[in-house]
């Protein structure tokens, strides 16, 4: 039972480590979740086009951050190259839609499947690496991919430097929705699905195994957990999530090019995960809001040095909320509980 596990975990696991995401057991949190969902569905009918676009991108980043969080927050493997999986997902969807005429709603799971395979295959040799060395290996992947995408002999598929332009999907069944509104609702549906799957995954034995490996790999191995398989699978699932986000992102922006997916994207995703809150499912949403809106706010504050302002805000947040926004909310809730 959930509560049994939590009491046992509280004894065994070192203090301060975050336990698996708690199920919203109370009626209040269930109601809050429902209210959030209703508000999210109503959003496209209240906002203007550009803000719907920004809200859709927040959802896309939330899925990407959820993927990275699975790997880094819950499994303790640092990845500085998750932008590469985002790019692979985006290009997989774009190539399927542009070169093979696959409908957009099919290209998203296809891109996810592709990234699952790639992530798993990358995770296998990465088993030998720990901590900083794994970070460097993933960093290398994140650096190499944009250049690979510009590679001459792949140009027929990838479109080279100019990239691929995609058409925006229309609302199906002649629903009276703008393409922007429909796209938001489509992305919302996929996001909710991914969040639910993540929650169920983390609540099950796989989730507990992941957390055990993160906290005490040797003890986990002696308890009978197949570390190698679990870590590789986590890599695969994490890549799949970020790949699905990439595919959705490609459809929303209607454009993929190698320069959209530089190493800076990988670092931005890591920033989002940490700011949102490691090992926290709602943290993915907070982090997504951060990485979508703070650069714009920073540019409004200072046109000359927006990234300096961004850095200042980031450092301030780290001082005020070292466990991320989710951690801060948890602390506040505990204080007032």
């Amino acid at each position: 039972m959930a509560s049994d596990y939590e009491s046992v975990a509280a004894v065994i696991l070192p203090a301060g480590s975050s336990v698996a995401a708690k199920a919203p057991s109370s009626l209040r949190s269930r109601a809050a979740l429902a209210a959030l969902l209703i508000a999210a569905c109503a959003l496209p009918f209240v906002l203007q086009n550009y803000h719907i676009f920004q809200a859709t991108m927040v959802l896309v980043y939330a899925v990407a951050l959820l993927g990275l969080n699975l790997l880094t927050g819950y499994n303790g493997q640092i990845s500085l190259g998750h932008g590469a999986f985002y790019a692979i997902g985006a290009y997989a969807a774009a190539i399927l839609m542009d070169r093979f005429g696959v409908p957009y709603w099919l290209s998203v799971p296809a891109a996810g499947a592709c990234c699952l395979a790639v992530g798993f295959l990358f995770g296998l040799p990465a088993l030998k690496l720990e901590g900083l060395y794994l970070a460097l290996a993933t960093f290398a992947l994140g650096m190499a991919l944009p250049q690979l995408l510009k590679y001459k002999h792949l140009e027929a598929w990838t479109g080279g430097v100019g990239g691929l332009v995609l058409t925006k999907p229309e609302a199906p069944f002649a629903l009276p929705l703008d393409p922007d509104q429909w796209l938001y609702l489509f992305v919302l549906a996929v996001t909710v699905l991914m969040f639910v799957v993540a929650r169920n995954l983390l609540h099950g034995s796989v989730g507990r195994a992941m957390i055990a490996i993160r906290d005490q790999a040797m003890a986990a191995e002696t308890m009978g957990i197949n570390n190698a398989l679990c870590k590789s699978l986590t890599f695969g699932v994490s890549a799949m999530y970020t790949g699905v986000a990439g595919a959705l992102g490609a459809i929303v922006v209607q454009f993929v090019a190698p320069e959209s997916f530089t190493i800076f994207l990988s670092i931005t995703l890591l920033v989002g995960v940490v700011v949102g809150g490691l090992a926290s499912i709602p943290g993915a949403l907070y982090g997504a809001v951060f990485i979508q809106f703070i650069p714009n706010i920073a540019e409004k504050i200072s046109k000359a040095a927006p990234w300096a302002i961004y850095g200042v805000i980031l450092i301030a947040l780290m001082f005020v909320m070292p466990t991320g926004v989710a951690g801060a909310i948890r602390a506040v809730r505990a204080r007032f509980a």
Binding site: Y50, K152, G160, G162, G163, V165, T167, F255, E259
Partner: protein, 401 residues
């Protein structure tokens, strides 16, 4: 019944009286009685930042127009965003301009690859995408992309002229081609090969480079090794400066051709070494501020005064400012012609019906003409050759499609 009838008559009269007043002023997005909002993305940073001078001078020109009273009493609100010549940033910037800033029109955007990324989007949203700083063939497509107009002369036609020139002056030549590996370079290359026609086998070596590559030295070395005696370069400013220097330093003396977008003496030839650039052929359509032939031209005095007043920190001899001003002047002309009907449709209509528009900055004999069937702006080019101090004119104006 009579009351209702009276009310009906009053309403009809009111509507009829109101209509002429409304028909006089029709505003699209971004327009009010006091301002017109137009936007662009421009390469102020990144590997093509030397072209940022275009956006800079356009902002200065609009400032001058605003100080002189604006266009039909309305001030120009010019929003120019930096896209670092990177297509993803262009997509982001254009989206912001159209959906957040609600500009009336886009104009003077730079970059073949950058504009290609937003080509479909702006046409589907029916935004005037005017006077692109690129001569790629795809911009002249009134049937499929009616909202996009080029300004720069067709790259395809330019390359055909180079091909014909080689066939006429050096029929047995061995040609090496250096081109940028994107839509810009490939458009030129295609035109060049078509211009050579059956003699396309005169090309003995081709080398491409990415805009983001730090140097083109290795490409030049491999082209020299091919034994070619003609070098055709479809490259942008930064690579052009490097190529000119490397070719000279290697002791290689082929007959060189350089694309018209990269002939700035201040931005390309001086950094490369003026003496190393002697003999290069190119095509021109606007006046060079350092050319001897325009020394006493009233245009030069006006241009220098304008630069001194509005961009005093900048090098007024840099030729990049001239096409920037020309594009801004054309935009002002289009907006003026709209009068009080400042809708996107009317802006497009005025832009596609320019007749024999002449500005002092254009070479004598070159006029701007557009029609709904042919969006190409410039229909004549002048062959030039660098002689150590200026791009000297060779022969007569050549007409292009």
């Amino acid at each position: 019944m009579t009351k209702i009838w009276k009310a009906f008559v009053v309403v009809v009269c009111a509507t009829v009286l109101a209509m002429p007043a409304q028909a006089q002023k029709k505003y699209g997005p971004g327009v009010s009685d006091t301002e017109i909002k137009i936007g662009q993305t421009m390469a102020y940073s990144g590997p093509a930042s030397s072209y940022g001078a275009l956006g800079k001078v356009q902002a200065a020109y609009f400032k001058m127009i605003n100080e002189q009273g604006g266009i039909n009493g309305r001030k120009i609100n010019f929003i120019s965003l930096d896209d670092a010549f990177s297509p993803p940033k262009t997509v982001e910037g254009v989206r912001r301009l159209i959906e957040q800033e609600n500009v009336l029109a886009l104009f003077g955007m730079i970059g073949t690859a950058s504009n290609a990324a937003v080509h479909r989007y702006v046409n589907s949203k029916k935004i005037p995408h005017l006077f692109i700083t690129s001569g790629a063939t795809k911009w002249n497509d009134p049937k499929d992309f009616p909202w996009t107009l080029p300004f720069y002369p067709s790259y395809h036609s330019e390359a055909v002229i180079y091909a014909k020139h080689i066939l006429a002056t050096k029929p047995g030549a061995k040609i090496a081609v250096l081109f940028q590996n994107d839509d810009y370079g490939k458009d030129y290359l295609k035109g060049f090969k078509e211009g050579l026609g059956a003699k396309a086998n005169m090309i003995v070596a081709e080398a491409s480079y990415e805009l983001s590559d730090p140097t083109v030295d290795s490409q030049i070395i491999s082209l020299k090794a091919s034994g070619a005696d003609v070098l055709v370069q479809f490259i942008l400013n930064k690579a052009a400066a490097q190529a000119i220097r490397k070719v000279h330093d290697l002791g290689w003396r082929p007959t060189r051709y350089l694309s018209s977008t990269s002939t700035s003496i201040a931005a390309v030839l001086k950094p490369a070494g003026i003496d190393k650039a002697v003999g290069i052929y190119s095509l021109a359509w606007y006046k060079d501020p350092v050319a001897k032939q325009w020394e006493n031209d009233p245009w030069l005095k006006e241009h220098q005064a304008f630069m001194k007043k509005y961009l005093p920190q900048d090098d007024a001899t840099q030729s990049t400012y001239v096409p920037g001003v020309l594009i801004a002047q054309t935009m002002v002309q289009v907006l003026k012609a709209c009068g009080d009907e400042l809708t996107r449709e009317n802006v497009l209509k005025q832009a596609t019906t320019l007749k024999d528009l002449q500005f002092p900055g254009l070479l004598p004999g070159i006029k701007l003409n557009t029609s709904p069937a042919d969006y190409a702006m410039l229909h004549a080019l002048q062959m030039v050759q660098f002689d150590g101090t200026q791009w000297a004119r060779q022969g007569e104006l050549m007409s292009v499609k």
